[in-house]
């Protein structure tokens, strides 16, 4: 069994150190059976997704009717600022210094010294992507209701529906959006699909589609959703996506891509070029559901093959990046270079996308494209392993790799550190075991 020690991120004020957790009685307005009766929260039901992947209408001839509530501008930011002014966050993220690292890629570095304070390292098992839910561990039914912003559902209608004060219906297990009390940027929230169903961190078609809905509803390319699987730096085994607002393109989004295949439903799958983490880009498709379902198929395949991965839902849900990774596994095996390890930066979805949250001032001040590249390259699968994984994915979604076509103008160049290409003979991220799903997640 492989495990690593790391400081878990505190996403809720009710997330005590696990050992002490049990002593907390209720009376704290949580989502458990004890408190949920009578609880109310705004409900936002988004409009049904049209064929938005490709069927986007020309705007000039068509002024869409104003929704009753602007999802991102009024609801997310307004409720978030409200919690901010109520002092629910562990620190003021807007006081954290941030900069664009000079260079071609535009990695964004943030100095965040507060995020990992006051937590002791916990042991995490990293060799099992699927683990069953453990109600004794911290999960989102334990958060206080004040940390919830609103209920979110995929609408049946063509119109947005908003109810400012809707009872939480425990029977129907609402999906909720909650704050992350350790934000890495303004508006950092968690989307927790069907929170009361206590789903483990595991992609299913319906939940990913809900996340894509949320990206589409935000209608802003700078509001993205992300996902970390277990073994790829998820710290809580309760299904959740993260989202925040950063008004810059991520280096991952800027990377050139090379088309690999197009599925029968029209989803184009490309491989990123000249990016430190080998990744796939899914876009297009006859509908957004096609796109989402194709990515879900791919994720289910990775999960079944015990391959940790991250997802970035970008460009209002039009582009979805899938990044299989092996950093934690390498870390557990002692194969990550000490300088990289020393920074204590965990390459989860945001770091892999190019937003580096640094814990030490010296790392922030000395941040360079080369350092960022070196760190991310450690997370990448080797070239061979990435090919193997792609074959698994293509088989799972019913496509074999028919042809390769280059797109965009490609400038061949060396990676700044050159480290990606040199390690091509390792086989990291391989399926280790497909153990039984009943083993527990976090070791105390």
């Amino acid at each position: 069994m492989l495990s690593i020690k790391r400081v878990p991120t505190v996403v809720s004020n009710y997330q005590k150190d696990e050992a002490a957790d049990e002593s907390v009685g209720c009376g704290r307005n949580c989502l458990g059976a004890c408190c949920i009766n009578g609880a109310r929260l705004p409900l936002y039901a988004c409009k049904k997704l049209e064929k938005s992947g490709a069927g986007e209408k020309l705007v000039i001839s068509h002024e869409a009717r104003e929704p009753p509530v602007a999802f991102l501008e009024s609801l997310v930011l307004g409720e978030w600022e409200d919690r901010f002014q109520r002092g629910l966050f562990r620190y003021d993220v807007t006081a954290c210094e941030t900069k664009v690292i000079p260079g071609k890629y535009g990695f964004v570095a943030q100095l965040n010294e507060g995020r990992h304070l006051k937590k002791r390292p916990t042991e995490f098992r990293v060799d099992k992507v699927l683990q069953s839910f453990d109600g004794n561990k911290f999960n989102f039914t334990k958060v206080g209701q004040e940390e919830l912003l609103f209920q979110f559902e995929a609408g049946e209608d063509g119109e947005v529906q908003f109810f400012p004060c809707m009872p939480l219906d425990a029977e129907n297990s609402p999906s909720v959006v909650a704050i992350n009390v350790s934000p890495i940027e303004y508006g950092h929230v968690l989307l927790i699909p069907r929170v009361l169903d206590c789903l483990p961190q595991r992609i299913d078609h319906k939940s990913l589609l809900l996340a894509v809905h949320m990206a589409a509803e935000a209608a802003n390319p700078y509001f993205r959703l992300g996902y970390n699987s277990l073994g790829a730096f998820a710290t809580i085994n309760h299904l959740h996506f993260q989202a925040y607002y950063l008004a810059m393109p991520f280096p991952l989004e800027k990377a050139l891509s090379k088309k690999m295949i197009t599925t029968v439903s029209g989803v184009k799958i490309s491989e990123l070029l000249n990016y430190p983490v080998r990744s796939l880009l899914f876009e297009g498709g006859n509908s957004m559901q096609d796109l989402s379902d194709t990515v879900s198929d791919a994720c289910v395949c990775l999960q079944n093959n015990n391959i940790p991965f991250n997802i970035l839902i970008s460009d209002c849900g039009r582009q979805i990046f899938l990044m299989p990774q092996c950093y934690a596994e390498k870390q557990a095996l002692g194969e990550v270079s000490p300088e990289v390890l020393e920074t204590q930066v965990n390459p989860a979805v945001w770091e892999i996308s190019g937003h580096m949250v640094l814990k030490r001032k010296e790392d922030y001040e000395g941040a360079s494209e080369e350092n960022a590249w070196r760190l991310l390259a450690e997370a990448s699968l080797s070239e061979e392993r990435f090919k193997e994984v792609n074959d698994l994915i293509f088989e799972a979604i019913g496509c074999s790799n028919q042809e390769e076509e280059l797109e965009g103008t490609i400038v061949h160049q060396q990676s700044p550190s050159g480290s990606v290409n040199q390690k091509s003979n390792r086989t990291h991220g391989g399926p280790i075991t497909n153990g039984t799903a009943s083993e527990c997640l976090v070791l105390q």
């Binding site: 705004p42 490709a54 069927g55 986007e56 020309l58 705007v59 000039i60 001839s61 002024e63 009753p68 509530v69 501008e73 009024s74 609801l75 930011l77 307004g78 409720e79 978030w80 600022e81 409200d82 901010f84 002014q85 003021d92 807007t94 006081a95 954290c96 210094e97 941030t98 900069k99 664009v100 000079p102 535009g106 964004v108 908003f162 400012p164 303004y186 508006g187 390319p221 700078y222 607002y245 950063l246 008004a247 810059m248 393109p249 989004e253 800027k254 088309k259 197009t262 184009k268 876009e283 460009d315 039009r318 582009q319 028919q402 390769e404 076509e405 280059l406 797109e407 965009g408 490609i410």
Partner: protein, 406 residues
């Protein structure tokens, strides 16, 4: 498209920059181009050349006041859109191949060349000029060959087809493929390549020439009106001058708010939203540079003013109810539910204070809406994001000032 301004106010803003007959002079140019104004909410087109109207099939009235995004459609490459967005944010020129749509709905390829127009005196971007040169597709063949030979080996066979499809689609409009029964894979192929049409060197030169012609007319007519503009940044923006990217972001916020700069003497207003001007009845040039106290009058409670001052000094946020005096036609007073918060820049330092005004009588508890308090706070949130990210751009500009020249 966010807010569409009435054409008159858009026209007005354009005319104010230049001397008489500027439009007639621009109309003389044969090129297809548009001029946009980032300082108007929604970053709308303020001028469209006859060539542009002819190319897109729209009338001038349909185009003025619109954002350039209106001409993009489902097959417009997302990456190109991102590149243009970035160039605007970083206030630098960009040349990119772009698929746009005519009024009829038919798409066409063009070379999009956009440059910022600077005010010579203070280095501030005042407009963007975007030239559109139609792409004939002649070069596509060569490009495919180049890539094909290097990387896939069989590129030359396919390129013939691709080259054909690029031109054919442009002629036929939508994705109607009338011609012979191509195998499905080829069809797919054609569409994929259709996403990439390359401009020729002569088309690129044409775009540069057009941009220079437009610029020289703008320079000539701005000189006569006293505020010279140019295509180069001669000096760094002054501290009291907001970047166009920040102004574009702020322009999307529809509620009434102002930004004041606590680092300048007497904490003047440096940005006022359209809704603020409507609420208070003042014109923008009457409020910029002023301290907010012009809104108070004899009956304004001085203890509230004191409370606000204390909060500002401590760098805290506060919500107060204060009697304000408007400059509306009836010179009426109104109860302002005012929220003030400090706003930090990317280095974590307080750069501005935002003041969000809600007229107390207008607070309706409509059941379909977000609470008014939340709406008010959402403005604070949107301003925080806008300010934080615009300062991140600023740090790029500092590092690559050389790239700002055309």
């Amino acid at each position: 498209m966010s807010i569409t301004k009435s054409s008159e106010s858009v026209e007005e803003s354009f005319n104010a920059r230049y001397s008489l007959w500027i439009k007639e002079a621009l109309d003389e140019l044969p090129h297809s181009f548009t001029i946009t104004d980032p300082f108007i909410s929604g970053h709308p087109i303020v001028f469209a050349s006859p060539g542009f109207l002819k190319m897109t099939g729209y009338s001038r009235e349909e185009v003025i006041g619109r954002n350039g995004r209106a001409f993009q459609g489902p097959k417009t490459n997302r990456r190109s859109i991102m590149e243009i967005r970035e160039a605007i944010r970083e206030e630098r020129p960009i040349q990119v191949n772009l698929l746009n749509y005519r009024k009829s709905g038919s798409p066409f390829w063009m070379l999009f060349h956009m440059i910022p127009v600077f005010e010579k005196m203070d280095g501030k971007v005042i407009q963007f000029v975007a030239v559109q040169v139609p792409i004939s597709g002649q070069e596509h063949h060569h490009r495919k060959m180049r890539n094909g030979s290097g990387l896939s080996g069989d590129g030359s066979d396919r390129s013939e087809l691709v080259y054909g499809s690029c031109r054919r689609e442009v002629c036929l409009g939508a994705f109607v493929r009338k011609d012979r029964a191509l195998p499905v894979e080829c069809d797919e192929q054609g569409l994929e390549n259709w996403e990439h049409c390359e401009a020729s060197e002569s088309e690129k030169l044409k775009a540069v020439e057009a941009v220079n012609n437009v610029l020289s007319i703008l320079a000539r007519y701005s000189e006569l009106s006293g505020g010279l503009v140019c295509g180069k940044r001669y000096c760094l923006r002054g501290a009291d001058c907001l970047s166009s990217s920040l102004v574009i972001s702020l322009g999307r916020i529809k509620q009434s708010f102002v930004l004041t700069n606590p680092c300048l003497p007497d904490m003047p207003i440096v940005y006022a939203s359209d809704a603020f001007l409507t609420l208070t009845g003042y014109k923008r040039q009457e409020v910029l540079g002023q301290n907010c106290r012009f809104l108070t009058g004899v009956d304004t409670d001085s203890s509230v003013l004191y409370e606000m001052k204390e909060c500002i000094l401590k760098g805290q946020s506060c919500t107060v109810q204060i009697l304000n005096y408007s400059n509306r036609k009836d010179k009426s007073t109104f109860w302002n539910l005012l929220h003030i918060s400090p706003v930090r820049n990317a280095s974590g330092k307080t750069a501005y204070f935002v003041g969000v005004q809600v007229e107390a009588s207008c607070r309706n508890a409509e059941s379909e809406e977000v609470r008014p308090e939340t709406r008010q706070l959402s403005v604070v949130g949107a301003v925080r994001v806008a300010v934080r990210s615009s300062f991140m751009v600023f740090s790029i500009l500092g590092n690559m000032s050389g790239r700002c020249h055309i």
